[in-house]
Amino acid sequence: MSRYTASGLSFLLDGEEVPMAPGDTVLQAAHRVGRYIPHLCWHPGLPAHGSCRLCMVNFNGRPVSACTALAAPGAVVECQTPALQAERRTLLQMLFVEGNHFCPSCERSGNCLLQATAYQHEMAGPHFEEFYPGRPVDASHPDMLLDHNRCILCGLCVRASELLDGKSVFAIAGHGTRCHLVVDSPSGQLGDSALSVHDQAAGICPVGALMPKRVGFRDPIGQRRYDLHRVDEPHSQEAAPPADEETP
């Protein structure tokens, strides 16, 4: 039997018990049992970043990010409150106006965690004025496309390349709204980097910023992940959890 149920430790997430192990973050424990806490910059198997802030929950009454807050036995965690849902919708609107996101023309449409999360949060429009930043597209790599217009600076590719692929192809540069992804190569172009289409970093982007070329419409629109699943269904947010993540 799993060490989680054996430990007997748990906390309450929106009134339901979630088993936990010492050292778990709230999001880790919830994800393990298929409970959905909205997130964009978190991925099972990678250390938490805490940057997108979509996973804000009330932890014993205090707002914290579920991906960085350590779970505590007996804690009362609220996630799906109307106030938190409204705040998440505002955060999503911020991400949409900051970059250049045009879902109808994006080949990631239907497979995009940002788009699916926005639908889930009933985001009907941008609400804020669009920034329309001028961001270049890097198409220099034979197998991959890097479109900075859609990058939400979640840092998943940075962490995956460093920790899973051992390559450190990416880094975040700049500050404030001028933050952007940079590539480790003499020219700064993706085509001159060590990135391979088979790298874990190549497949981890939750939006359409880093995409493999020539496979965009292999799955037709209407048959894609979030066409078939709601984003809050267990484990529908990203690929199946790695084998080392124990399920109770």
Partner: protein, 597 residues
Amino acid sequence: MEATVRTVLARHANQPQALVQILRELQAEQGWLPREALMAVAQATGRTVADVEGVASFYRFLHLVPVGRYRVLFSDNITDRMQGSVALMERLCRRLGVAPGAVRADGRVSVAPCSCTGLGDQGPALLINHHQVITRLTEERVDAIADCIERQLPPAQWPAEWMQVEDPVHRADVLLGTPFAPGSALQAARALGRNGTLEQVQRSGLRGRGGAGFATGLKWELCRDAPGAQRCVVCNADEGEPGTFKDRVLLRRHAHLVVEGMTLAAWAVGARRGFIYLRGEYRFLLEHLQEVLRQRRAAGLLGPDIQGEAGFDFDIEIHVGAGAYVCGEESALLNSLEGHRGTPRIRPPFPVEVGYLGQPTTVNNVETFCAVAHILLRGGDWWASLGTPKSTGTKVHAISGDCARPGVYEYPLGTPVERMLEDCGAADTQAVQVGGPSGTCLSVTEFGRCIAYEDVPSAGALMVFDRRRDMFEVARNFAHFFAHESCGFCTPCRVGTELLARRMDKLAAGHGSRHDMSVLQELDTLLHQSTHCGLGAAACNPLRDTLLKFRPSYERRLQSLHFLPALDLDAELSIARAATGRQDAAAHWPPSHPTTP
């Protein structure tokens, strides 16, 4: 260039954690940081070029594209603005024929604003080449600066009086008014032993002077007790909060006190290594501080076996920042110290457990260390008898703005604001910003309130605004400050501070409506709840305070009670009118359709 890169790298033994220092020193030689230099640094330090680029592009004072050989930065704090900095910057740009923020075609000069140079008591001020400061700017001085630049005179040869920085202390209490003999507090501490030293600090009830107010003795105890072979003491001299300059004065007039306080901390927690993290704007203090460290090493007050005490080894390095306000946050400061982007870390673990290079680290403010040295000389109970029960001792304040005697004032905590206004010669005051933009704005009905953790906490800045000032413009200046200084790490701060600044600009341009006010309030709630660190959480404080206390200054900017777009629709139509040759009523917005054609 290759030789310069090699020399700078050798000076730091190719250490990856010295990256910010390496880049700063390289740029001081080269003017900017070409990609080849980044690649050479990356190779020597064993880091990727993307990583080095990420770090270099984080700091406002590092440049990946050429800037002027004379890089002029005008302090853009609200008090500098009140002293006329905007017109003076325009004047310099005009004289030199350069647009703000741009490089002149011949590459000689660029002129731009920067957040705050920490010279609010003698502004308007500017910074040349991230090194020399010029105070008390006037039209004549600006014209003379333009001449110096045109004649290509090196800034070191400009008139010394321009670079004169005064340290006016108008009220000294126990901290600034008592003579101090270097080494005396250390002697007292050694007599007490390491535990006895910590006990005195705890008895004093001293709370950190950087703003957060965490108990210093508890911080030291946690650091001492955390597991780890090496420990570290860091002096946070990244005084970036606009309106504060008390640490500048302490570092210039009382450097021995600061360093002695750090050494006491090292004694109490068992640290052998220390850093002074000096903000980039205070680069002009570096030689002075290095001289103090040299003197103390020579006197046996730093280095191995301090004061002959076997095993009491401690030494200090100075790390110069590169223009990033967020590095005042202690975990961001540690990232910067390790040669990374200055983004705040996830906490826990706290720096007292996992700090510099994973070692238990105590980070304290300049003034905290000064207070500790006096506490060891006169005892914790003595300090606890000053101030109020929860806010013991005295506090040093930097007062600037609309007052006759700007400068530094030391008062026991619990002193009412009106007393301070009286002492600094403020008249007809309508508002006081306590603790800088991230602090509290008090209106005239609140001047009886006291500076103390029980009432109005302060990191040590008081900006005074008399009735001539428009408090909306004050809040707008602060909004731009936060947008400029956001590290960009988390969504609400990165995007929210920019949205806030743009919305305030929309109001300032006369396009405001009630809708904008509700959006501002929505941003306030969201940022306060959801940001990764205190910068974003505080970014809406000036908005909230001024909206509450100076609402008319907002409302007179509203054109409509309903939504109003930021653009002028009729003006946008002018191109279409010109193209079609129409000037009739229906070609204007709002359209008016005559009933008869």
